[in-house]
């Protein structure tokens, strides 16, 4: 059995766990804990080690999806999770511009870990106060060549599109070499 891995990363509360839950064929193996810091209590629980989802491709191939913890104090997990990844997805909460700087930091950190293809997703695009993609691209200082994709993490079709775009990017980079 061959296995490949995609990593879903991004700042705290950007929707990584929900993203994996939407598409995984197994219940996501989650390591969520109750939030202890008052300043981070915009949700009840957060991932502290990783989320783990799976899609069986065929009899010989399995795709694993790993979600990283969003809080900086668990960042020792990032490098471990990034080992051997096929590509990665950076999730950004479109309605929380105060997390864009953190998203940028995470993106740069993962790029430094491995030269693998990646896409950036603007999650929570269904919210009224979500930023426009072009504004987000500017704020995140993304190169025009980097895909910045709209996303609603609880919508399976939206998640499928993101995964496919990442795979197309991987394919394109493979062909370009």
């Amino acid at each position: 059995m061959q296995t490949v891995k995609i990593v879903v990363t991004g700042p705290f509360s950007s929707g990584k766990t929900e993203f994996i839950q939407s598409i995984s064929e197994i219940d996501v193996v989650s390591t969520e804990r109750k939030i202890s810091l008052e300043s981070e209590k915009i949700k009840n629980a957060t991932t502290v080690a990783m989320d783990f989802g799976r899609i069986t491709i065929d009899k010989e191939l399995v795709l694993y999806m790993f979600g990283t913890p969003g809080q900086r104090r668990f960042d020792f997990m990032w490098e471990i999770l990034s080992e051997g990844m096929l590509g990665f997805i950076v999730m950004v909460d479109s309605a929380r511009p105060e997390t864009f700087r953190e998203a940028r930091y995470i993106l740069e950190t993962f790029r430094a870990y491995a030269p693998t293809p990646y896409v950036v997703t603007a999650n929570k695009q269904d919210l009224d106060d979500a930023w426009d993609l072009e504004d987000m691209r500017f704020a995140l200082r993304l190169d025009p060549k980097i895909k910045l994709l709209p996303c609603v993490a609880h919508d399976k079709n939206s998640v499928k599109k993101i995964l496919l775009e990442l795979l197309y990017t991987i394919l394109a980079e493979m062909e370009a070499k």
Binding site: Q2, T3, V4, K5, I23, I55, T56, I57, D58, L61, L63, E83, G84, L86, R101, E102, R104, Y105, E108, T109, R111, A112, A114, P115, T116, R141, D143, K156, K160, L163, L164, L167, Y168, I170, L171, M174, E175, K177
Partner: protein
């Protein structure tokens, strides 16, 4: 317990705060990558500072603060070579060249300048020599540390933000692919031009910093301003070999790689 350690764990601002709160007397010796600084305190007040690579003589300090000209400096260096700073200071005051205020002001500016420079050091080790004071022939001043600590705290915040923006100096820079921008028409400082000169996907930021003799904070500050201006982009170094662990992904066989990705694409489309 000896007060010694690494600047990565304990910043200059924290050290000044400690000296200030504990009203310490002694000399803080900081050994950075390129220089050694000695900062002396008496009962928590800054009284003296020196950088080993600089001319720390009174004549040198007065020339730097433009209280005397280069010619006057040369004459003093020649004729007053055997005088120590205290003697030279008294001579200049008695001869009416300078006032006591001029001398004290120059010394204060110089010492504060050294502490400010220390704020940019992020690498290095330090130790505190209790009760060790400035050399006897040097003129001490007496300055509160509060303003310097506040200034240092601001700089620390800047450092943290720059680290977030540019987490690794092992990445390279390349000029942005933005037609229409001619870098010759952009007003850059001398330091920025020096960095720009080395912008090349083959050079990491760490290498550029070394070549331009900039420390971690200074190179980050300049790169950040170039990034903000949209002149450069951060990229992976061209010749760097990355040690990824492929595990199951076939790295060498291209058709096999493509087939694998296409199988995943087909499966996800079908979900």
């Amino acid at each position: 317990m000896a007060l010694k350690g690494n600047l990565r764990d304990f910043t200059i601002t924290q050290l000044l705060n400690l000296v200030n709160l504990a009203c310490k007397t002694g000399t803080l010796v900081v050994e950075g990558p390129a220089d050694v600084a000695k900062i002396t305190f008496r009962e928590g007040k800054l009284i003296y500072a020196q950088l080993d690579h600089l001319d720390n003589s009174l004549a040198g300090i007065l020339r730097r603060s433009k209280k005397i000209s280069s010619r006057q400096y040369s004459i003093l260096s020649e004729r007053a070579a055997n005088m120590n700073d205290k003697e030279l200071g008294i001579l200049l005051i008695n001869a009416g060249y300078l006032s006591q205020f001029d001398i004290i002001e120059s010394l204060q500016q110089y010492f504060v300048g050294i502490v400010r420079q220390l704020f940019t050091w992020v690498e290095g080790v330090f130790h505190f020599e209790v009760n060790s004071l400035q050399p006897f022939d040097k003129i001490p001043v007496r300055m509160d540390l509060e303003n310097l600590i506040i200034e240092g705290s601001r700089q620390l915040r800047e450092w943290e933000q720059l680290q977030q923006e540019i987490p690794s100096l092992d990445m390279s820079l390349k000029f942005s692919d933005r037609p229409g921008i001619n870098i010759r028409n952009v007003n850059l400082s001398v330091e920025e031009w020096r960095v720009v000169y080395y912008v090349n996907p083959k050079n990491t930021m760490r290498q550029i910093a070394k070549a331009t003799k900039l420390n971690d904070l200074e190179i980050r500050r300049i790169v950040y301003s170039l990034l903000q201006a949209g002149l450069v982009e951060v990229i992976r170094p061209r010749e760097q070999t990355v040690t990824t662990q492929p595990r199951a992904f076939p790295k060498t066989n291209k058709p096999e790689q493509k087939s694998l990705i296409n199988r995943i694409i087909d499966r996800i489309r079908a979900i």
